[in-house]
Symmetry: C2
Subunit: 577 residues, 2 copies
């Protein structure tokens, strides 16, 4: 391919709407173009990258006995009625009607379609286990698309669905898929991806993992133990708090705390420590609008995912009015209205002489002791883990909080979809049973952007050779010089004949600086510079985009050198697979 013909424009200025580097570089490099809110077109450079990523994924899915299928993007709402998700999923599910007023949805995930496809096929235990996957477009009506290809509305995804006759069999397959995903990310050049335990959210099921690329620009918080191998998504991370408070129990006293509406105000006013205070965060149930109060230690935050799982239903931040059975700013567990559900967090357990709201405008209690003052208090884990917290595995105070981009996820779904959609098989004894499912996703575009985020410098992406748009870029400085052009042309031809993907920049009248800027933005791993100056010494310059190699090589040896360098770059990747 000649660069002069490559469709997509490159430019210098960082676009104002790009908040992360990978997005800015991929816009500047002519990889993608915004079509609408969270909707992009891919230029040829990006399409070449995503095609390579898709091939890696396809090979690895085939290697774990996956069979590729294709589900539609547009699905009848009936299917989602069957699983109950037409009702239960929020606005991310785009619902609409066709010309005959039939209800349709844009598939944001394909569990329903997967069950629909195989439920007649897999009616006997002899058909199990099996896995089907597809690489297909999806649409998720995100409220806040951001960061280029990281959080979009329309995207290409590999999604896989496995079906089993026992939990053990699912777990065995889950482990294979777990390893397969590690191979995929390693082959794509980011072996540093880590897995974290995660909350299954709207997918249902219990055990699930996310594959996280750690980066400060990630939108997920990840809880990592610096000592052992504990890793979890913030939503799923268990919070352990040990309160070792000594001293006598004081008397429960109602004190006036005028104008103290926040826990900071109260603690300042009472000269008490936040770690001895009880903070209230109020929600309402989506079902009946009744109030749910989460009490956490003053210096902790509520983990809404854990709270929601505990409450067993959807919650939203409360709107407290004058009619509410709660006094905003003065809510505490002692004497709280019995119209309210409340939960005490583990961070409160073991505290003595706590400051808490008195459920009375302008008053708080001091000297609250849960075990003494409340009726059989129970403590639940509904708070977020903090930096330096206790690792639930090794018990050391070695918790560190990192940011990450989720590049893949795997779920043990159980029978949520097979039961709701009535997919059954006859077992060895002819008894009808529901198959157990797993599901496994990777977003292709997000993966490309994540690799760019992990591997770039200020000038452009540094693509791993396995997914790079081309393997080699030949830059012919002074293409108007016949001798230079001849050597560069020959290199281009010979390398292509040797099954090498070459991008050839033989543009005339382009300054070397501009040529190199373009090459940096395209991020091709091996660069060959042919120039009159080097040719005087019968040499070409060969460098790698990551700057680890920079050699002058005799023209006659250039092809062999490049082929062996290329081989080495592939081997470096495969070291981590």
């Amino acid at each position: 391919m000649k660069l002069a013909n490559l469709i997509g424009q490159r430019f210098k200025e960082r676009p104002a709407d790009c908040v992360i580097d990978s997005h800015a570089l991929m816009v500047r490099g002519g990889y993608m173009k915004n079509v609408g809110n969270g909707i992009f077109s891919e230029f040829p450079v990006l399409k070449r990258i995503t095609a390579k990523i898709e091939n890696i994924i396809r090979e690895e899915m085939d290697a774990i006995d996956g069979q590729e299928v294709l589900f539609p993007v547009v699905l009848p709402a009936d299917l989602w009625d069957e699983s109950g998700r037409y009702e239960s999923v929020g606005n991310e599910l785009l619902r609409f009607t066709d010309r005959s007023k039939s209800r349709l949805v844009l598939a944001m995930t394909h569990e329903e379609a997967a069950v629909h496809l195989v439920r007649e096929y897999a009616q006997s235990y002899t058909k199990y286990p099996f896995m089907i996957y597809q690489i297909q477009r999806k649409f998720r009506d995100e409220a806040r698309p951001r960061a280029g290809m990281i959080r979009v509305r329309e995207f290409t995804m590999k999604d896989a669905y496995s079906f089993h006759t026992s939990q053990e069999d699912l777990e065995q397959y889950y482990a294979r898929c777990y390893d397969s995903y590690n191979r995929i990310f390693a082959r794509a050049g980011i072996p540093e991806v880590v897995t974290v335990a995660s909350d299954s959210g709207m997918m249902g099921g219990n055990i699930s993992h996310e594959y996280m690329l750690l980066t400060p620009v990630g939108e997920d918080s990840i809880v990592i133990c610096e000592e052992c191998d504990y890793r979890a998504n913030m939503e799923a991370a268990e919070n352990q708090v040990i309160n070792d408070v000594t001293g006598e129990e004081a008397e429960l006293t109602c004190v006036e705390t005028p104008e103290c509406k926040t826990i900071e105000d109260v603690c300042r006013f009472l000269k008490s420590d936040e770690t001895l205070s009880c903070k209230a965060v109020v929600y309402q149930k989506s079902s009946d609008f009744s109030f749910v109060v989460a009490f956490v230690r003053g210096d902790y935050e509520v983990n809404e995912t854990k709270l929601r799982n505990l409450a067993g239903e959807e919650l939203y931040p409360a709107d407290i009015t004058e009619d509410s059975p709660l006094v905003a700013g003065y809510i505490g567990p002692y004497g709280i209205s019995d119209k309210v559900t409340y939960y005490l967090d583990v961070s409160l357990k073991g505290l003595k002489n706590v400051v808490a709201g008195a459920n009375k405008e302008g008053y708080h209690y001091t000297g609250l002791n849960f075990e003494r003052d409340l009726d059989n208090p129970q403590f639940f884990d509904i708070s977020k883990v903090k930096e330096g917290g206790i690792c639930p595995h090794c018990g050391k105070k070695t918790i560190s909080i990192k940011r990450g981009i989720e590049v893949g996820n795997i779920f043990q779904l159980g029978t949520k979809y097979t039961e709701s959609m009535n997919m059954q098989y006859a077992d060895e004894n002819g008894e009808l049973k529901y198959p157990i499912m797993g599901c496994y996703g990777i977003g292709v575009g997000r993966l490309a952007a994540s690799i760019c985020e992990a591997h770039h410098d200020e000038y452009g992406p540094i693509w791993p050779i396995t997914i790079a748009p081309w393997e080699v870029q030949v830059c012919c400085l002074r293409a108007d010089d016949a001798e230079t052009k001849k050597v560069a042309d020959e290199l281009y031809d010979t390398l292509q004949k040797k099954q090498t993907e070459v991008l050839y920049d033989d543009r005339e009248g382009v300054r070397p600086g501009a040529m190199f800027s373009d090459a940096d933005l395209l991020g091709v791993p091996i660069r060959v510079v042919v120039s009159p100056r080097n040719l005087k010494e019968n040499m070409v310059e060969i460098t790698t985009r990551d700057k680890s190699v920079k050699e002058m090589v005799p023209v006659s040896e250039a092809v062999d050198y490049i082929l062996s360098l290329k081989q080495k770059l592939y081997e470096q990747i495969m070291l981590h697979v």
Copy 2:
């Protein structure tokens, strides 16, 4: 791949809702499953076929300098506002809104997205010509999906868009693409596809061609000359009629024709010939609901596409009420209301003493002579060509009407989209100009179904080897017999090592008849049968799905025989490319 693991069930009974063979066979063979009205999932067998078709298309598009890109399935309505098609396209364009009430459409074609992608890139004449293509899902809200994958609502399509600075350059590229399409269809095993001139319809532009697979179950009518190379879609085919009527002109006479509402009634009543009658077909304009009457000779039909193009706007079948300026059943050109637009068809030219409506309830004229009785009558081509009609190229009465499936189309679009969307480039003199576009489509799933329609017998598809799901199927009869199983296993292994795609049926307890029925439904071109009986003579049976080969081959020579047969099947395909 072992057949025992292949996902998708096969069965014997022809499904009641399948009107064409290919649909029935592809449902019976476990290729596809209906998800909703005109919406299908693809099982692994079909996915393997469509992937091969996509690869052929991709190679051929790359060979004519196409660059692969990807456009979104969901597009903002703004883009379609720019081209004017948000308004002008009918209900096939599915319009809906997202969570923030922004208007979106499901792309049924991507001209707007193509112009959007490149309009900043291609601002200088030096960037031209170029072509971009994608292979992507599309959705067209068809009123009447039918015939399985032939007419669906959601489908995978290769669509390509080329951009040029002159009509000559477009025409040169169009010719390259024309040939490229012929190569694609030949490589996919249907070199018999013919091109026909077509009407451009809602795409705009002038010259366009459709690639038609002739088959009685096709939904398009194609006009073919048996003598010369003239071929056109019925919508675009020019109708030539020569009326050689002798004799005197009779007097124009208004006669009573009670209860004669159709042209057949009138001719019977007046004992006149239909070929001497003037039939009226009435439409209304979508813009102002005014009436448009098409007059054709009694034995011809109106070609609505040509009529619409002549009228220059959308028309729909009229609803004639008592208030209308027309008398239903008695409409004729003489004395017709001047509130009505009417057109005379070429089939009326040269007639004498015609029978026509008198625009008066219960009366017709006889002896109507257009040149004498009407004021400067003009004749337009607004009728459908008939079997045995005159070829507009060679002038012989050799027109034949065939049925066909449209498997591809190519259009010269002109500047319809670049002008409306304001895409411009600076030419050599710095003058701003609109690029000229071409566009080129192939439906992947429809092509697969068409190949099946063209190549099947009563037992199943006969896939050309280039797109077959596997190249070879090994059937092990009596897999419970150790010796038989061993030979079959070895064949399976060895063939795979020799880069051959093998489907291996080693199911135990399946009768040979059932095994062969399954193999027939899967349509793999080469079949190897390993059975105890043949092995007694140290032989295996090798056949082709199309029955052209049926050989007993010694076990020791089987692999070589199969590889050479495979090679021959590929060569047979390439003979037509």
